[in-house]
Subunit: 373 residues, 4 copies
C-alpha cells in the first residue's frame, strides 16, 4: 500500500476519482526552485482530454499548491498540490463494484481491499490521479529544462501508422507544443483518423510512445536495483495502460548480434560519445551521456462501448456489461504528459541523490557542470 516513490525526492499520490480531491506531495526538493504556474498549467493542458478523440468529461484541473512554496519558490519543505474533483457523475459507475469492467482494476481492487475501496470511477486507480502527478512533476521538469535537460515524447506507432524518428534537438523540444505529439503532421492526421474510426465502432486503440531525453549528465543510476532503467520502468509501469517498456533497441535486440548491438566509443578529443545508441543512453544501469531513449507500449483503453462478458460478484453469475459514461477511445496522447512527468521525477531524484539537496543554485550548477565532465 505504498503510494510513495523515489529516494532523495519522494512523490506521494493520494485521492480518488470521485472523492473530494486528488493530490500529490513532493518531498526532498531543493529550496529555491522557481515555481512557474503557467508552465504547470501548460503541462496539465497536455494531459486533458480534447476534441473528438477524447472523453466528454472535461475537468478544469484547477490546482492549488497548499504547502512548500513561498514567494514563488520552493521552500525545501513538502510541496503539496491539490486538485478538487468537480465534474463527477457518480451514477455512471455505481455497478462497477459488483460488475467489474474487463481489464480495469475493479475486480482486483475489490479483492485487495475486501470491498472497502471507493469504486466510483475507478477510485484511487483512476487515470484521473495522473493529473496530480503531472502538476507536481512539472515543477521538476521546469527546473530540469533550465539546466538544459529536455524531455520529449512522441507517438511513434499506432497500429501500422509510424511517425518518423527524432533526428534533432528541435524535434524533441517541440513536443512540448504538440497537443497530439507526433513529429510529422501526416502521422497525426492518420492516427486521429484511426482513433475516430475505432471510436465509431465503440472500440479503442493503443500505441507506442517514444521518449528522448537530451542533456542527461553521465553517472545517474545505481548499479543494482536502482538503475536508471529500473527506476524509470518502475515509474512508467505505474502509469495505467503501460504494458511494455523498452530501452534503446529494446525488443529488437533479439535480432542483433553483439557486434551490431554494441555502441562503440568515439571521441572528439574532449568528450566520449558512442557510435549508434542501441543501449538508449544507459550502460550498466547508469546514464552514459548519450540521449536517453525508451518506449512505452500503451494498451487500448479498456473502457469500450461494446458489450462484454463479466461476472456479478455478489452472485457469481455471468452477466453482460455495456459500459456507459464518458470514455476515451485513445489515451496514448494524454498518457504522454504522464510519461514526461515521471521521467522528470526520476531524473530529478537521481540528480539529488548525486548532488544533495542543499541549494537550488548548487543543484542546477551541478547539472551544468556534470555535463561538462
Amino acid at each position: 500500500m505504498k503510494n510513495t516513490f523515489g529516494n532523495a525526492i519522494t512523490l506521494t499520490l493520494f485521492g480518488e476519482s470521485h472523492g473530494q480531491a486528488i493530490g500529490a506531495v513532493l518531498d526532498g526538493i531543493a529550496p529555491g526552485l522557481e515555481v512557474n504556474l503557467d508552465y504547470i498549467k501548460e503541462k496539465l493542458a497536455l494531459r486533458r482530454p480534447s476534441g473528438t478523440i477524447s472523453t466528454a468529461r472535461v475537468e478544469g484541473d484547477e490546482f492549488e499548491i497548499v504547502s512548500g512554496v513561498f514567494n514563488g519558490y520552493t521552500t525545501g519543505t513538502p510541496l503539496t498540490l491539490l486538485i478538487k474533483n468537480t465534474n463527477t457523475i457518480s451514477g455512471d459507475y455505481l455497478d462497477f463494484k459488483d460488475l467489474p469492467r474487463p481489464s480495469h482494476a475493479d475486480y482486483t481492487a475489490n479483492c485487495k481491499y475486501h470491498g472497502y475501496q471507493d469504486y466510483r470511477g475507478g477510485g484511487h486507480f483512476s487515470g484521473r490521479l495522473t493529473a496530480a502527478i503531472v502538476g507536481a512533476c512539472a515543477i521538476l521538469q521546469y527546473a530540469l529544462e533550465k539546466a538544459g535537460i529536455i524531455i520529449g515524447t512522441h507517438i511513434c506507432n499506432m497500429q501500422n501508422i509510424k511517425d518518423s524518428d527524432f533526428t534533432d534537438y528541435t524535434q524533441v523540444a517541440n513536443m512540448r507544443n504538440r497537443q497530439f505529439p507526433t513529429i510529422t503532421e501526416e502521422a497525426e492526421k492518420q492516427m486521429k483518423e484511426l482513433i475516430e474510426s475505432v471510436a465509431k465502432e465503440g472500440d479503442s486503440v493503443g500505441g507506442i510512445l517514444e521518449t528522448c531525453v537530451l542533456g542527461v549528465p553521465v553517472g545517474l543510476g545505481e548499479p543494482w536495483f536502482d538503475t536508471l532503467d529500473g527506476m524509470l520502468s518502475h515509474a512508467l509501469f505505474s502509469i495505467p495502460a503501460v504494458k511494455a517498456v523498452e530501452f534503446g533497441a529494446g525488443v529488437t535486440f533479439n535480432y542483433l548480434t553483439g557486434s551490431k548491438a554494441n555502441d562503440q566509443f568515439v571521441t572528439d578529443g574532449k568528450t566520449v560519445f558512442t557510435k549508434g545508441n542501441s543501449n538508449g543512453g544507459i550502460n550498466g544501469g547508469i546514464s552514459n551521456g548519450m540521449p536517453l531513449i525508451f518506449r512505452c507500449t500503451v494498451k487500448p483503453t479498456p473502457s469500450i462501448y461494446k458489450e462484454q462478458d463479466t461476472v456479478r460478484l455478489s452472485t457469481m453469475q455471468a452477466e453482460k456489461l455495456q459500459i456507459k459514461g464518458r470514455h476515451d477511445p485513445a489515451i496514448i496522447h494524454r498518457a504522454r504528459a504522464v510519461v514526461d512527468a515521471m521521467t522528470a521525477f526520476v531524473i530529478a531524484d537521481m540528480l539529488t541523490v548525486r548532488f544533495g539537496t542543499d541549494t537550488m543554485a548548487e543543484a542546477i550548477n551541478s547539472i551544468k557542470n556534470a555535463k561538462k565532465n
Copy 2:
C-alpha cells in the same frame, strides 16, 4: 548507491567480481522457512556456464550461509549468503579502466565513481554478482513452491527461432529441470547451433525470455508505484543485459483494439477467471489470479572477440580494442535463473506486505487460503 531492493523483505547485494567475495543479505523473511541446500545448489547450477555455449571461467559457486539460518530453518533475522571468489584472473581485465569495453559499464562506472571503482572483471557491475541473488532468492522460491506458486521461464525467441508457448502446468514446472530452458527440444537444438555459430565468428547473441508464474493469489501489488508490474520490472531491469520488459501481450498491444485486448471475466460459479490473458495476470497493477506472464529481452553479450572502437580515457584518443579473456557467446539461458530468482523475491516480498512476517506457518497458509478466495 542503493544496492537494496524490496519493502517487507529486502535484498542487499554486495561484492566485486575479482574482490574477496560476493554476497547478499535477505532481511525481513519470516522465521521458520525451511532452507534446502540442495535446492539452492540446483538453482546455482542453472546459472553456471556450461559446455561450448558458455565462458570457460567456471566458478564452483561454493556458498556459505553465515547468518540467519539455524537448525535448517530461517531464524527471521538477516540471512547472509556469501560466495568467495576463487577462479579470478585479473590480468585479463587490467586495461578496462582506461579502455572501456563498448556496451559494458566500464565507462559509466569510471565517471560515476571517479576512478575509485574496482574495475577488474566489471567489479560490482559484473554478472557474477547474480550468483548471490540466485542463491539467496532460492530460499524464497522454495517456500513459494511449497505453497503452490510455481515459476517457470523459457527462451521463447532467439532471432528467428521460436520455442512453442506454455500450454500446461507441467511445462512451467519442468523448466526447473532444463539447463537450457526451452519447451521443445527442436528449439534447444536450433538455438544452441545458433550460439555456436556466432561464437565461431567471435560474436554473440541475445533473445527473449518468457516467464509464467502459476498460483499467484489475487491482490498482490499496490495501486501506484509499487504495482506488481512496476516492482517486477524494477527488479528485472537490474539484471545485466535486460533491455525490455513486457507484460501479457506487451508490445503487440499496439496492434490490438480494446475489444480484442480486454480480458473478459467468466466464472465456474466459484472463482472468477478471464477469457484470454492479454494483461498477463495483472489489472491495475494488481495480480488477478490468472497466470502471471511477462517477457524480458536480453541483449547480446557485449563481450565479443571482434575488434571494436573505444577511447583511451587518459589521453582521450581513439583506440582499437580486442577483448581477450573468457566470455559467453550467449547468457540468456543463464540469465533465466536470475529472472526466476528476482521474480520469487518480488512475489515473496508482496506476500509478506500483505500477510505479515509473523510465522512461516501463517504465511504459507495465508498463500493457500488467499488462493481459495
Copy 3:
C-alpha cells in the same frame, strides 16, 4: 528533507503555520478500519489551547478527510487529512527571518533553506503542524482501543510538583477525558498555578510527560535499529520541545545494580510476567507484554515575553528581541495529545509489519490473538 515516517504504515506531514493548509497523508492502513469523526475531534480538542494557561490564538482545527475514507471506513488507499489555516496574523512574525528567536528553529531553518523557507509563525517547523498528526493518528488510536490497546499520558513532573504514579488500568484510560492530564486533582491545581505564575512574569515552563500503554502484545519491534524504543524515540523527538526520552527506569538506571534493575520472570501458569517493570515493557528492543512505560521531558516554551539577545542576520549585529504575538506559557499539556498520537502510530505500524495489511478484521483479531499467546 524526509517528512515521512514509518515502515508498513507511513505518515507524511506537510504545510506551514501561515500557509494555506497543513495536513498529513497516512498510507498503508488496512482497509475497513472505522473512522470515527467524533473521536478525532475529541483528540484535536485535547491539543488545542484553552484558558489562561495557553496562547490566545485559537484555531478551530476544522479538518477534512479528502481521500482514503469511503462510507465511514478506511479504503486501504492513502488517507489525507487537511486542516486549513484561518486565524493567521502574519504581521506578528515578520521579523523572525532576520531576527531569529532564541531556541526556535528560525535560525537553523534560515541556514538550511537558504532563506527560501516560509518563516511566518515558524512555517513548517510550527507546533501547529502537530494538529495534523493528532487528527490522522486518531484513526489508528481508535482502532487500537477497540483491540484493547490503551494509551494514557499524564504530566508526572513540573518542576518540583509531582503527580502520583499510574496504579491501575482505569487511570490510564481516564487520561482520555482530562484536558489537563494529571492523575490527582491536586497536581493539576498546583501545576496550573505554576503556569499562571510564570506567565505573569512573561516566562514559560516545561515538565515531564509519562506515558503508559496497556495491552501491547509481545513481539513488537525489530532487533536492530527498528527497535520499539528506537522507533518511539525517533517519533517522540520529532515533537517540538521534547528533549529527553526515557524508557522504564530511564535515567535512574544509573543508580541501580543489575540485581535491582532486572525484571525477573514469573508466571501464573498461563502467561509470563515480570516482577517490576524497570525495562518499561521492552527487552532487546521488543515488547515483552508488560505495560509500555516511557517519559518525555518537554522544555519550556521558547517564546517568552522577556527581552532576549539575538543577532540581526542581514547585518550580523547584536540586537534585543521582544517577542510579541500569542504564545503559550506552557505547552506540555497540549504536547500530550501529540505523544499519544505518535505512540499510536508506532504501535499500529509495528502491528502491520507483523500481521500484514490485508484486512481490518484480521488485523484486529491478530492483535487480540497475539495477546493470548
Copy 4:
C-alpha cells in the same frame, strides 16, 4: 525485521553471537574515502573487553573487508565488513531458550521468532554484533575527523561518581585515547573500583555516557521525523542497554523556565553563536553549529551471577536461574565505542543527504565550506 538504518547511507547488520560470522554492509558511501585499517583496529580495541572489569571472553575481532574497498579507498559500492566468530562456547547458553534470562532478549526473541531464533549467546541480539557496527562506522568517523568533525564520549556518571564536564576541544579529542573514558583520572579510579566491587558480589552496574561532537556544520537534520535528535536517538536506542537519551539540558529542562533554558544568540560579527547550550546544538531538529551534546543512560548489564527467578517456558513453571559463562560487570566503557560509531554514522548520513554522494573530495570540502557559512 528491518536491520537496516539510514537514508543516503545505509547500515545493514547481520549475524549471530555463536553463528559463523557477524558483519555489516555500509551502502551509499562516497567513493574515494580513505580506509585506514589501523584506525578501525583502534576503534575495535576500545570496544573489546579488558582486564578485571570485563568478561573473560576475548574475541580477536579480526575483521575482513570483503567488498567496497579497492586500493585503500572506498569504491562507492557496498562495503561489507565481516568478523568471524571464533571463541564460542555454546554450551554455556544452551538453556536460555527455555529458561530466559531476566532483562535479556531471550523471552521476547522466542515469542517473536516462534522458537526459530538462534538463541546461543543471545544470537542476533548479542552485544557482540556491535563490533561490526564499530568496525564499519570507523571508516565514516575517520572521514569526519579529517573534515574537522570530532566525536568524544566520556562516562559522566556512575551511581554517585561524577566525571568533570568537557571544557575544551582537547578533552573531546582525547577520549579517543582513553580505554576507560573519563576526563579525570580520579573518576576512572573510583568507577573502576565500583565495578570491581559490584563484580565481587556477582552483580553489575550501569551509568551515563555524555557525548560531545565538535565541528558539526549548521543545517543537518530534517524538520519532521528525520530530525537530528530523532535520528540519533533511533540509532542510540538500538545499542543494547541504552534506556534514556537526553539532548543538552535533557531531563533537567523540567526545572528551568524559558528565560533560563533559552540559548540566546550572539555574534562575533562573522558567525552566530549561542550563549549557553541548553539545546545541545539542536534547534527545531536541526544542528545550529554549536557543539552537539547528548547523554545515554546505560542500564546495568543484565547478566549477573546472582540467582534470579525465571519461568521454564516449555512447562510454564517457575524456576531459579543461576547464570554461568563469561559476562561483564559493566559494559558502559565498551558501549562508548558504539555510541561514537552510531553518531558518526548519523552525521555522515545527514551530510550525504545534504551534499550528495558524488565524490569524496566534494563531500569533505562541502563539510569544510558548510562550516564557514
